[in-house]
Symmetry: C3
Subunit: 311 residues, 3 copies
Amino acid sequence: MKFKKSYELREIASIIKCNFVGDPLFKVFGMNEIHVVSHGDIVFVDHPKYYKKALNSRASVILINKNVDCPEGKALLISDDPFRDFNLLTTYFKPFKPSNISISKSAVIGEGTIIQPNCFIGNDVVIGKNSIIHSNVSIFDETIIGDNVIIQSGTVLGSNAFYYKKRPQGHDQLKSSGRVIIENNVHLGSNCTIDRGVTGDTTIGEGTKLDNLIQVGHDTVIGTNCLIASQSGIAGCCIIENDVTIWGQVGTNSGITIGSKSIILGQTGVTKSVQGGKTYFGTPIEESRSKLKELALLRKLPRIIKELRDK
Amino acid sequence: MKFKKSYELREIASIIKCNFVGDPLFKVFGMNEIHVVSHGDIVFVDHPKYYKKALNSRASVILINKNVDCPEGKALLISDDPFRDFNLLTTYFKPFKPSNISISKSAVIGEGTIIQPNCFIGNDVVIGKNSIIHSNVSIFDETIIGDNVIIQSGTVLGSNAFYYKKRPQGHDQLKSSGRVIIENNVHLGSNCTIDRGVTGDTTIGEGTKLDNLIQVGHDTVIGTNCLIASQSGIAGCCIIENDVTIWGQVGTNSGITIGSKSIILGQTGVTKSVQGGKTYFGTPIEESRSKLKELALLRKLPRIIKELRDK
Amino acid sequence: MKFKKSYELREIASIIKCNFVGDPLFKVFGMNEIHVVSHGDIVFVDHPKYYKKALNSRASVILINKNVDCPEGKALLISDDPFRDFNLLTTYFKPFKPSNISISKSAVIGEGTIIQPNCFIGNDVVIGKNSIIHSNVSIFDETIIGDNVIIQSGTVLGSNAFYYKKRPQGHDQLKSSGRVIIENNVHLGSNCTIDRGVTGDTTIGEGTKLDNLIQVGHDTVIGTNCLIASQSGIAGCCIIENDVTIWGQVGTNSGITIGSKSIILGQTGVTKSVQGGKTYFGTPIEESRSKLKELALLRKLPRIIKELRDK
């Protein structure tokens, strides 16, 4: 996320009560996870394995648990627990705001858009024109929805990312400050769940249609004109390119890419990234032709073994 | 769907501004998809591959994109885009009616039936006697629910069919005008999604019990006394005959039939129709005995290959 | 469940209008299913196969359909239909109480806990401190929720168990009288469904985190600090020990145990109990190393068969 205004490095350091390296007046414009960080942002890193990546990233300020050399033109925030302090900053800049009313007064709802009964629409939500939000839908703060969108009943937009750090005493959640973006002409079925980005956006591209009971994880970007059938689950940080067809009950690992115009057959487990333009099946994922050949061979195997034994 | 009264052919043609072949006073009683069309109905067809099927169907009026010979006793509506015009007719005869209140005044709710808080019940819904509708359930317009039915929280009845036509510019939804029918003594779990028929009915037969998080697609007919376990998904246009048992996380292709008294084991993908009275497992579906034998053989294979190599 | 006060055997017999064997003043303290029955409880049994188990269980009163010898220190309730009469007792001691309001006045909600709009909170629910219940959540009667719990939108806690007895005329539901217990620091995602115990408790242990669209069946006990990813389904009567990681779209059979610190990979079907500390994959479940080896061998098989044929 980007802050509403810029802050000075010393102000940030005082929020989380830590030391810093760099000009106290160094301007800070936002904070983001390593995947989506950009110039002016704070990024955090707490494992030596990722120090170099974080220091060389687009981030301008590195929240780190070691007193390393500061890269030129950047600044450091030195913390004994960067994860905890990143969460503190999220809470400071994007505190959870409880609601007493079902539709926040700060929500902006476009002309011709219909909100059916029993919906919850959080603060600063923006919905375009001629969209329909069916009953019992929950839309969390800052979600952006385009024009001609249809969201069927019970769907949840903007719930927290499932993102935890393992500590000796249990799992510590990385607090989500990102958003959900639903572009024009998207249809979402009933009882779907679309998580917000951790610091960036979870995006469903123009014209894409989702069936019922579908999960879309945090920071995933789904392209335009995709079709996703019921009960499929797209994990966090995935890229689904344009014109992809995903049949029912497909699951994916996090972080994978599905190339444009791919077809993923039902119940497939997308265990790795796959090239566009092909049809896939099975868990682990294979091209569907290969997988179906293997399964056919397996059925013929008793006969083949007999033949070989009798040879 | 059947219209509330009959219309003349010329009236229908004027709604969609198209030419027609036949008696201008020809009576039209309804409109339906090819699977459920009956005498007096309009059907639409826009691909030469299906012209013959549509012209020979039970439909009395064929909405078609070619000036073909009109079968005797029937009529034609000639359109450059039958899909678009079928949608126009759906919108004309069954416009979406937004609701300002949670329980429509036109809903008919039987004696002894309990509606828990935060439900949405649409227009012209009929619910029988001694049923319980738990909190946060959404029931769309014209759904019919019988006696002694229990619907647990968060379930959605009557959401739109997931049915799209691919156009160069994106996916065009076939608008749904059908209904959901829940017969007597049915139990539905929490957070299930039951789509309405496109023009016909999605039906769950008497005494059938569904667990939580189950998807039932448009126009599917589930028989009597079936048991379906959690997270299974029945696609559109399926027939599940009576006394079928479906374990958890099963998925089906659209249009398949599962014969009476079948047992479908967990996580099976019902990739084709299967005969009744047997137990099935795996994706693609096989009789469970065969599938389990194959898997056992696969486990023994390293030993068998060694034996054959050493021979 | 335990009754709010003790009853005499003759009082119980008069509620269900059946004969009894034993002291009419014999004290009865509760009623429970065979798995969770304890001293002072009624248990029911209606099949000769289970008579011995029921008579030798911790139950003090056996509701049974045969006039057997009464074990010392116990009592019998003789019924032609113990299942029906067990349900009658459930209805007597724990009748369904319809609600006119969204948040029951008997619910106890701790300091600092936030309830977002459109939730349903039933009778006698207890929620601890500093928890957040997001919009459109349904919490059924008598659910117990700890401190620092987060429940995201659309989740349902305490729906009925999916537990039916097959009768010639259809399926007869065993009525649920149990509870859901959510311990401290648990997070539940959106649109999850957690069924109540039939007579005991469904428990999610301290610090465990569930993603979205997850099913947890009746009487299941999930330990502490587990992570369960989206769209997994844990059946009824399971034990998930501490520190277990379950990836997405995993399903389990009912009654299984997953040992502590196990990792269950995505889409696995947990068809039997598994030891702790290992990684598992596939349906039926195997150690993931074995399963992945089998799948690799299957891919190489055409080459191996050729080699053996050419030998």
